[in-house]
């Protein structure tokens, strides 16, 4: 094909679609799907009692899987052929969303924060909804904390839940053994978690990115196993219960208080309601999350924040420019850990009970999934992903069962199609030149 005819093809309005290879490709994909599904979907093991297994067949499901893959693959290929044939410049994917979100950042944030503040007082609000909102906000805060490490500094931390656990256990132990209240213990939780970040990070931050990921995973597991087995201190698998609830400037949220203590509802002359505490917890985590966000947004503009992003983009260049990678990475690691610890402290006071079961690798993977799906480095994306992750199981049992399946698949999908995340905002904060790029 000569250059001239190549141009001619590009200019035609509707490019031809070559059906035969598409069909062949789709049939092959369906065949593979059938082979994959045959042993694990088509033949289902079940208990027949007495420690023996039986087999059920579900070959109809295998057929459905094959048909679905055939249709999906075929549609995908047809779309892609159309798409690839379009003139350049139209290929923007979801970019318009990112651009729109970036332009409207201030109003969007204001609307979002206003909605979050109003939520407990809205007419359709309920205790259940506020509880759900609290869970979402815990994940938002964890996501924002991890975002400092993964999104800004580009360090993949697979053991983030360790710092969450350290924060939670710090508070639980301080409360149990020394009688600390939530507000007294909160700074300690953050500090202890941050020091754990420094202690664990110091020896390993010289490692390459993927080695670092595995080592942090190892640390996460070590901390969990130690919590599980150091029964004299942590209560082992039984965990620690009766963790004190937070108070409102010294006013507890209880129906009746001991002599000399005024409760919240007495002080404000309200009728006692257990919802007060739920709403109060919601506002505490909302404030903590907002502080995390404000802190992150500010620190991005400080030299250390700029160094994180520079290091993420090119470590060698940073070294050449005299940035000490170890200290810069360590600061990101410690700050991320601190937010994890603070969130852990809140988690402990909200649940009133903690055990190592809350701090498994799955939890780390979940937080990472939130950060990745939101688009690493994007603060808004984390919120959307956290809402999605927490509310998905509430739509029904099927969604609850499929939640992690969907999230795993979505992580792969995001990496394959939009590695910068759905709402990408990984453009450097600072850029030379006049025109800010809009990708």
């Amino acid at each position: 094909m000569t250059a001239a005819s190549g141009l001619a093809v590009e200019n035609t309005a509707k490019p031809p679609v070559f059906w035969a290879p598409l069909l062949r490709d789709a049939i092959l994909a369906a065949l593979v799907a059938v082979l994959l599904a045959l042993p694990l979907v088509g033949l289902q093991t079940y208990d027949v009692g007495g420690g023996a297994l039986g087999i059920r067949t579900h070959f109809d499901w295998v057929a459905w899987a094959g048909a679905a893959v055939f249709a999906g693959r075929f549609a995908l290929r047809v779309l892609r052929q159309r798409y690839d044939a379009r003139p350049m410049g139209e290929t923007k994917h979801f970019a318009f969303l990112a651009v729109w979100a970036a332009r409207q950042a201030v109003p969007l944030t204001l609307v979002g924060v206003a909605f979050a503040v109003m939520l407990p007082f809205l007419p359709f609000s309920s205790r259940y909804l506020v509880d759900l909102g609290t869970t979402v906000l815990i994940y938002v805060m964890l996501g924002w904390g991890l975002n400092v490490v993964v999104g800004l500094a580009g360090l993949l931390d697979l053991g983030y839940v360790a710092f969450y656990a350290v924060g939670a256990y710090t508070f639980a132990l301080l409360a149990r053994d020394l009688g600390f209240s939530f507000w007294e213990a909160l700074p300690f939780s953050g500090l202890v978690a941050a020091s754990f970040g420094v202690i664990l990070g110091f020896p390993v931050l010289r490692l390459r990115g993927d080695y670092l990921a595995i080592v942090t995973l190892g640390f996460g597991e070590i901390i969990r196993i130690v919590l599980l087995n150091w029964a004299s201190l942590t209560g082992g698998p039984n965990g620690i219960s009766d963790i004190p609830r937070p108070s409102f400037f010294g006013l507890p949220f209880s129906r009746s208080a001991p002599e000399g203590v005024t409760t919240f509802h007495q002080f404000f002359g309200l009728e006692f309601s257990p919802e007060h505490r739920v709403v109060f917890l919601y506002f505490v985590i909302l404030a903590m999350a907002l502080v995390t966000n404000a802190f992150t947004l500010r620190i991005r503009k400080l030299p250390v924040g700029r160094a994180w992003e520079a290091l993420r983009e090119d470590e060698l260049a940073c070294r050449a420019l005299g940035i000490n990678p170890t200290t810069v990475k360590l600061s990101a690691f410690a700050i991320g850990a601190m937010f994890g610890g603070l969130a852990g402290c809140f988690f402990a006071t909200r649940q009133g009970f903690i055990s190592p079961e809350s701090f498994t690798f799955i939890e780390s993977a979940t937080i990472l999934a939130i950060v990745v799906l939101g688009g690493m480095g994007s603060q808004l994306g984390v919120v959307l992903a956290a809402i999605l992750l927490v509310t998905l199981p509430e739509f029904g049992r099927a969604f609850a069962e499929f939640r992690m399946l969907i999230f795993g698949a979505a992580m792969v999908g995001v990496m394959v199609w939009r590695p910068r995340g759905l709402i990408a905002h990984r453009a450097p904060t600072l850029r030379l030149g006049l025109q800010p790029a809009t990708r």
Binding site: P39, G51, L156, Y211, L316, G408
Partner: protein, 304 residues
């Protein structure tokens, strides 16, 4: 002494299993420089397919144990290989040339997906498997303590050795092995010289998955229970083995696997069972911090 010998045998058996999984990590790392985080799940899928194959054979009336073992081995290797191939095709191939952490994140997503997929379709409960190969030799007897070497342990170690020999042959003396070594040294140059790089990488995943499938079959026979979560810990341990032996080095992976198996067996025997997983993680951290090239690995030079 007798106790020591028994732990040595147990450790070697365990080490064979870890070594077979570790080869998958080390080969993939050697060629495309990524940690195939989903490899542990491939092993778990191998274990599930083997238990299902045993059940189907039982229903079909195959009762002669060596025949059943051989058939299950082939079936498990075949179907698990397809999983290995599909994982590479779906989750890793589109990411060549993406930013460095992308394949690892994709692999973690794949790992979460596969775990939940198996949990959803096969249930979350542990799957028991009645002992198929029983009996063994008494190696040594002293002071009322007998050292047992079961037939199953002999089978596991022998099969591992046979696979290792076959595997070394494939790498050293076949066109495919030559292409793999070429890709490992310089992928772009290999492509320029007419090596189909995508095919070589796919086949590498297939080979790794086939070996992981064998490990899955072995663990099903050896422990008699499996569940959908076994892949995570086994994967991390096998990765540790690959790093300890020197990632990218095949004899290193086997050596590392055996060492990890021994460390785990002796640690549980002489220190504490509760912290046996910690021992492996500690080894991983120590090796990566102090000697990232491992025992038999080549030093890695970072180029601009």
């Amino acid at each position: 002494m007798a106790y020591f010998l028994q732990q040595l045998i147990n450790g070697l058996t365990l080490g064979s299993i870890y070594g077979l999984i570790a080869i998958g990590y080390t080969m993939v790392y050697g060629i495309i420089g990524m940690i195939n985080f989903a490899h542990g799940e491939i092993y778990m899928i191998g274990a599930f397919i083997s238990i299902i194959a045993f059940l189907v054979l039982g229903l079909a009336g195959v009762t002669y144990v060596p025949l059943a073992l051989a058939i299950v081995l082939l079936i498990t290797m075949l179907f698990t290989s397809i999983y290995g191939w599909a994982v590479e095709r779906i989750a890793y191939r589109p990411l060549r040339g993406s930013f460095r952490l992308a394949p690892l994140i994709s692999a973690i997503g794949m790992s979460i997906f596969l775990q939940n997929y198996v949990q959803l379709f096969q249930g979350a409960r542990v799957k028991p498997m009645p002992p198929l190969v029983q009996g063994g030799f008494t190696v040594f007897e002293s002071g009322g303590f007998t050292v047992q070497l079961s037939y199953l342990q002999v089978f596991i170690m022998l099969l591992t050795v046979v696979l290792m020999i076959g595997f070394t042959f494939v790498i050293a003396a076949t066109p495919l092995g030559r292409a793999q070594r070429a890709c490992e040294q310089d992928m772009r140059m290999a492509a320029l010289l007419g090596v189909d790089v995508n095919r070589v990488i796919s086949l590498t995943f297939v080979m790794g998955a086939a070996l992981a499938a064998v490990a899955g079959l072995m663990v099903t026979l050896y422990y008699g229970v499996i569940d959908f979560f076994i892949g995570f810990l086994a994967g991390v341990k096998a990765f540790t083995a690959a790093v300890l032996g020197g990632i990218g080095s095949l004899p290193g992976a086997m050596l590392g696997g055996v060492l990890i198996g021994l460390i785990e067996a002796f640690w549980s025997a002489y220190f504490s069972v509760e912290y046996k997983d910690v021992s492996v993680f500690v080894v991983l951290v120590l090796v990566l911090v102090f000697s990232p090239t491992g025992l038999l690995g080549r030093p890695e030079v970072e180029k601009v």
